[in-house]
């Protein structure tokens, strides 16, 4: 299997997770009006934008030349996983 193909999987993973976390933080902010949550949500929003940009760069490089390498991508996915479970932590 071509190792480059794993990028597809992890970029999708990162995008979905970051969008989910952003939505969760958005809902939390709407309930609590806590500015710290808004800042955290902004971070997730940036992650989401990065995921979308990477997705575009993956399949439509003529639109946006955004690329990454697999180790960086793995780090992103790990970070988001940790953040995701941190939000679930009671």
């Amino acid at each position: 299997m071509d190792i480059g193909l794993l990028k597809d999987v992890f970029i999708a993973w990162m995008t979905v997770f970051s969008v989910t976390l952003f939505l969760i933080s958005l809902i939390s902010y709407a309930r609590t009006r806590n500015r710290r949550i808004m800042l955290v949500g902004t971070a997730f929003l940036l992650f989401s934008i990065k995921g979308v940009a990477l997705s575009i760069g993956l399949y439509w490089p003529q639109i946006m030349k955004v690329t990454t390498d697999l180790p960086s991508l793995l780090f992103d996915v790990f970070i988001l996983l940790i953040l995701y479970f941190a939000t679930l932590k009671e």
Partner: protein, 591 residues
Amino acid sequence: MNKGAMCASVLAFLLLLTLVPFSGQAAGNQDAYFVKESFADQAVKGEESASFDYLEVRVVFYVNVSGPGQYNLTAGLEAGGGEMATCSTAGLYSQGQHSVTLRFRNRDVYNGRAIGRYSVHLTLKTPNFPLAPVEDYYTTSQSYHYSDFNPDFFAPYPPGSEFLYTDGQDTTTIRNNYMTFIFEKGTASMRYYFTQDQGAGKNGRFSVTFVRVLGYQDRGFGFNRSLAAHEASLAGGFWKIGALENGTHRAFGPYMRFNIIYSLTMRDQFGSTAATVNVTLSFYFSGNPRTSSDRLFTIAGSTQAELMIDLELSNTIGDTGLALETILTDSSRNHDFLLRDAIGDFKYNETNPKTKEYKLSPRLPDTIPKITFMNKWDAITYGVFSWPTPARSVFSGSEGNLNTDVTYVPEGRNMRLYLAYPARGNFIGVHHDIYFGLEGTQPPPTKPLPGAGERHDPLLYLLGSFLALAIIYLTMRLRSRSYVEEDEQLERIEELELSEDEPAPVSIQENVEGEEEEWRRKFEQQKESEDAPGKHGEPPEAESRPSEPPHTEKKPSEHPEKEGTRTPEKRPEGPPMKKGRKKGRKPTGGD
């Protein structure tokens, strides 16, 4: 956080990681492994073939086993998930690195109808049965187009491809409907361009001007222009047209060859004859635009004007060399402007030949390596390189090798090129086949982006999204289930509290009815007791109460729990209730 959900997520992630090649092969066959960094692939074409004959892949593997053994290598050429061709080879190998060249037939590649980078599935069976064979995948270093492997291809050429030759007083012209070549005798320069879309800017046009021949002192350090002792302009010589040859090539269509021969005399600073130089420029044209490719590579020789330089020196001064100074210009700057050697590999020194050297892989004789100087992406840089196949020096019927140094210097959009031959001795001839060419009738493809050429599969993207969503769904589901379980647990605790005081919980309505009944009973008892003592005095204070309707308001009870006003200290022992959950929880029916 639910530990099960976290474990499931981590497991799913690790499962993904196992997709990484070799991650799960630690316990596999360790007798051999592929050295993919040393792999190479190329399309191979014979001189007379109109399309490529083979797709050649060089496979390198390392054998860990000390003793010799029989190894079977099988390779499948794949693209788009399907297998196009297979080939296999076997050999006796011992410990060390080995290289095997595999050739996939053109017909198989053509029938595969695939475009892009092909994948080669490698299987190496090692002699230590029953170990599983070593497997790996290799992606070709360049893209291929199946139509370039058509074995039945015969280069078609359109009307007007035939060359017309005109030798005038000042110029010599070769022309057809697709190209024009003009050699100007007065300046010893040639201009060459395609006329197919002349003026549109996307077609090729380049010029070569042979400036002069330099004689120089060779002191063992290679060519040094400052040591030039004598020189002669090529434009100052006289010339004649050599033999003319034309015909039709199976692959390239109509072609034409002819020579222009210069003879000139070089004099030293004292006015004496230093050398007599004959320069033969051999031109070869094959201007069939239909065989040229607008794909990622070009069939070699299909659209190129080539020339061969043949220098003959006489009466040269000892320990001297000869250099041919040339200016190359690509006016449209849309094409790769190349010099190429006839055969063999070459060493390419970008800046300093002693410190930096790139040695390309050896090529087969039927392929022609080339050096690109000009293209639309990169600026020309100063550099020196040497042909690995030296020129030939001829003296009195005997031949010897003559190293050829090439120095190139950027000059605006042009490049000044020096071909230097350290020719020692008198009355020697220097023969060197060198080619100037302009590749392709179409502009070269855009410069590849970083990471371009990687394969991507939208299905894998969907797989990643699905896995992420599955993890999210799973964790949410498990989390909501834990809420339900917690609620049920709380209900059980409350039921336990009630069962300690009363056998069964009663509703508020039953409570009220029970209280009314009790009050009525008490009233009747009181009335009965008052009937007797009432004769002796005032009725008791409670006498008025019976007139009041039996109220349903709360009354301090002996069992406050029964009325839903539990006190914390009366809470029965059991699992502690969670404070956070108590706040928003819906009331249970028992309360």
